[in-house]
Symmetry: C2
Subunit: 145 residues, 2 copies
Amino acid sequence: MYTIGQVSEMFNLPISTLRYYDKEGLFPGMERQSGIRKFSERELEALRVIECLKKSGLEIKDIKQFMAWCGEGASTYPNRKELFKNRKAIVEAEMVKLQKTLDMLKFKCWYYKTAIYDGNEERLNEMLPDKLPTEIQVLYDNAHS
Amino acid sequence: MYTIGQVSEMFNLPISTLRYYDKEGLFPGMERQSGIRKFSERELEALRVIECLKKSGLEIKDIKQFMAWCGEGASTYPNRKELFKNRKAIVEAEMVKLQKTLDMLKFKCWYYKTAIYDGNEERLNEMLPDKLPTEIQVLYDNAHS
DNA sequence: CCTTGACATAAAGTTAGGTTTAGGTATTAC
DNA sequence: GTAATACCTAAACCTAACTTTATGTCAAGG
């Protein structure tokens, strides 16, 4: 059993955030001892899932729904599975987008390295959009597709 | 040369967003013809960079700074290169986090697939935290590290 | 016994990044 | 000539996810 201060340290989250999550119903049935929150292993795993679902772009109110399902037993297994399947698809799409972003950033790093070397962008402008060095062209094409 | 409506369609962005970006100084020196914005190839490339930098987590005011640098010539090449280098590091770190998120989601998919098959979580609770099938254990460990 | 520190609540405040509204201009279609 | 479109501005509005503020309780240390 942990106090809110301990959990705050463990997860590197402000105490105010933990209280906010609780108020929003993300820890249904969390124990209390004379008003003071007691975080058990169940709440810690809930927090790990909260961080995961938040990172997947899910809103607090939908995370609350998931936590409610967890308290309703086996009948909600399919709902929960479907939720994770959907979030997985969304994060996979996000990874593809982020890879494109990364390729753009790598291209721009090369671009300015070259511009600094040349002192201007003239040679670069001649190479654009399809006469770049092979490896750079791959980055450019992926970033602009 | 494109109107705001055409650019809105091309980039799938609301017109209001383009006007907001303009107001925030993200298209310095954009041409106008009797009050009406004229987007040239320069503004389209600016928009691609805006989307990239936004996705990297950069704030609008810092994107504005970058656009200002672009109008200041070769002396700001090092600033611009440094910016992209930093954003690249940030996005790479983000990718690692997102991979952990994805592994958690994959684990949970397997978890509920198994729970549905078993009808309960008893067997799963016995396997946790370190007696999972090899492939799943890898996901679980990465997600919880 | 009184101060310090950790906990509690309710309610107001904050922030970024837009979006909407209200009112106006200019061009084209019939 | 009037109706529909596409453009314009300034300013108010919106939203999610926190964060801060004001106020209070309670236990332990000196």
